[in-house]
Amino acid sequence: MTSDTVQAGLTARNLLLGSGLENDTAALRQALSEHNVLDAAGGKLSRLTGDGREAANDALASAAAGLLDLDLGDVLIYAWRTQERLADAARETLRAPGRMEIVQLASHQVTSTHNPAVDLMVDGVRVHTFHFQLDLVLTIDVAAVIVQNGRLVAVKAGDGSVSGTLTLKMPGGDATLLHQEQQIDLHLIIRVGNGISLPSRDEKPATATGLSAAGRDPGGWSGWGSYIRRRDA
């Protein structure tokens, strides 16, 4: 499903559920119900009456919707912070205060994967954990940003699209609960404010263990040749 260009302050919740209001969880409630998600908790909920089960389903939908309050502009900026060109511009503008650099970013795709979870407690005891996965793919056709004093101070142009998918890990395989796609206008979704600090290339952007670090320049390993020779010997 593709809709028109979206407005400012776009969150994953807006993207997947629409209005972003408190009562926007109808689609999620229905998806959870259709997939019999509460069955995943096993017989622990067998004592629930029909009304109680419906209430539990509603509460799970509300909790899951809360996990979608992610600003897509923030996601994009977080990914951009590791881009070499922006890091170079940050370093150059820090070296020469007042200098302004306009960086045109090539067409690129930002994939952001989130793994939120909701613990289900029955009489105060955790009996099950619902593991969700939120996949956001932002495809940026063109973007031009301005860097000054080591900070991203403006987004001058740029458009693209975003797709979001919320899945729930189920014993029989992942269940896709929600999926939406939209066109985006970058300077509408990114809130620059007083500027966003960028790491210069002298700094190491923090990366999670075990994950590929975009834009990293780890360099070579000087001891590699000798290691190969020693193992082969």
Partner: protein, 385 residues
């Protein structure tokens, strides 16, 4: 010798050297060189590098599941900034690049959704992110068993309440062993269906069950199975598999009235003291006499014919009048004469305000605790035209 020293005075060897000297000396690259030159035998001791190891947790999972992969001692994959760059493969395919620190790395690996049941290999090799190429052969591997997806088969997908159905389950290997009880519990919708069912060595079972007598007719009923520990008396997993079942209405329904051979005959109706008996439309009214007889209230029946209908109408009218009189508003003097209020001390209230559970319902509190993942994991990929 130079090569040996170079090999020795890096990475893990330095750590071993610290342990070797029990941290009595400050270990630096220069110290290492001095020690190796002074004691050549030390070089060979330190050169025994630990083998790169790959561990999968858990070692068995279903297609689509995520497992954790830990790598240790991948020193050859370290760059000058201690970053470990590796390429991880699933059965020598599906390459993904991972990074870590100090020769170690850790992360989640999704088992391909189309992975076949059986044993598979996760392997890792060094990776050069600049050259975007693998720079070593496989350094370590871990074996992962892909489990067969649990499934339920019913001998029939529909039947009436009380009918027998055979339920066969396969792929419940995860319920076996590991202290989980080697059993499954079947569920009818959300209620238990029969007792615990034992598994064979292949994680399979077959059992005859009866469609609950109270099952309502209609489709959408579910037979499900979950791991169960009979000793603990509780489920040890969520629902692993389910099958749909339709409950049909009983064939050739027979009401109890129509099948009843004869209407029960009350002793009163056969009482020899029945005053009258007519042949047309007998009406039986059971009641109590207005006066005790012999100290006991004995039921009597009055059988009347058409002639008695008038009496019945009179009795009904009298009853209606009595009801109307009871519902009539009373004036204040009547209330004062017939009613009085007694103050109840407050401390008596708790004794009278106990909550009694109704049979069939049990108190239950449900809590939901969300755990957001706001940072997530980002990857940026340039799109080449």
């Amino acid at each position: 010798m130079l090569r040996t020293r170079t090999t020795v005075c890096t990475g893990a060897a330095m750590e071993r050297l610290k342990r070797f000297t029990r941290e009595l000396v400050v270990v630096s690259a220069a110290t290492c060189w001095v020690l190796v030159v002074a004691h050549p035998t030390l070089a060979s001791t330190l050169a025994v590098a630990p083998t790169p190891t790959l561990t999968a947790i858990p070692t068995s999972a279903y297609p689509g599941d995520q497992i954790k992969i830990n790598g240790t001692a991948f020193w050859p994959c370290e760059d000058t900034s201690d970053t470990t760059n590796v390429m991880v493969f699933w059965d020598e395919g599906d390459p993904t690049t991972w990074t870590g620190l100090g020769g170690g790395f850790s992360g989640d690996l999704a088992i391909p959704s189309d992975a076949s049941a059986g044993f598979h290999q996760v392997t890792a090799a060094c990776y050069d992110p600049q050259a975007r190429t693998v720079t070593s052969h496989t350094l370590a591997s871990a074996e992962v068993q892909v489990l067969q997806q649990p499934a339920l088969q019913l001998s029939s997908s529909e039947g009436a309440a009380g009918d027998g159905v055979t339920v066969a389950g396969t792929g419940f290997g995860q319920c076996a062993g590991k202290g989980l009880g080697d059993s499954v519990q079947l569920l009818w919708d959300a209620s238990t269906l029969g007792g615990a069912v034992g598994l064979d060595g292949n994680g399979a079972f077959s059992v005859d069950v009866t469609v609950p007598a109270a099952a309502t007719a209609g489709s959408g009923h579910t037979v499900a199975a979950e791991c169960y520990d009979p000793a603990a008396g509780s489920a040890t997993s969520g629902v692993l598999a389910r099958a749909l079942f339709s409950v049909t209405s009983p064939t050739s329904p027979t009401s109890p009235a129509s099948t009843s051979p004869t209407s029960p005959t009350s002793p009163a109706s056969t009482s020899p003291t029945s005053p009258t008996s007519t042949t047309s439309s007998p009406t039986v009214i059971a009641g109590q006499p207005s006066t005790p007889s012999g100290g006991r209230w004995s039921p009597v029946a009055l059988t009347v014919g058409l002639g008695g209908s008038l009496a019945v109408v009179v009795v009904l009218l009298a009853g209606l009048l009595a009801m109307h009189a009871r519902a009539r508003p009373r004036n204040s003097s009547w209330v004062h004469q017939h009613l009085r209020t007694v103050a109840q001390p407050l401390d008596a209230a708790p004794a009278n305000s106990r909550i009694h559970s109704r049979p069939g319902t049990a108190p239950l509190s449900i809590g939901l605790e969300p755990h957001p993942d706001r940072p997530g994991n980002q990857q940026v990929k340039e799109i080449t035209p």
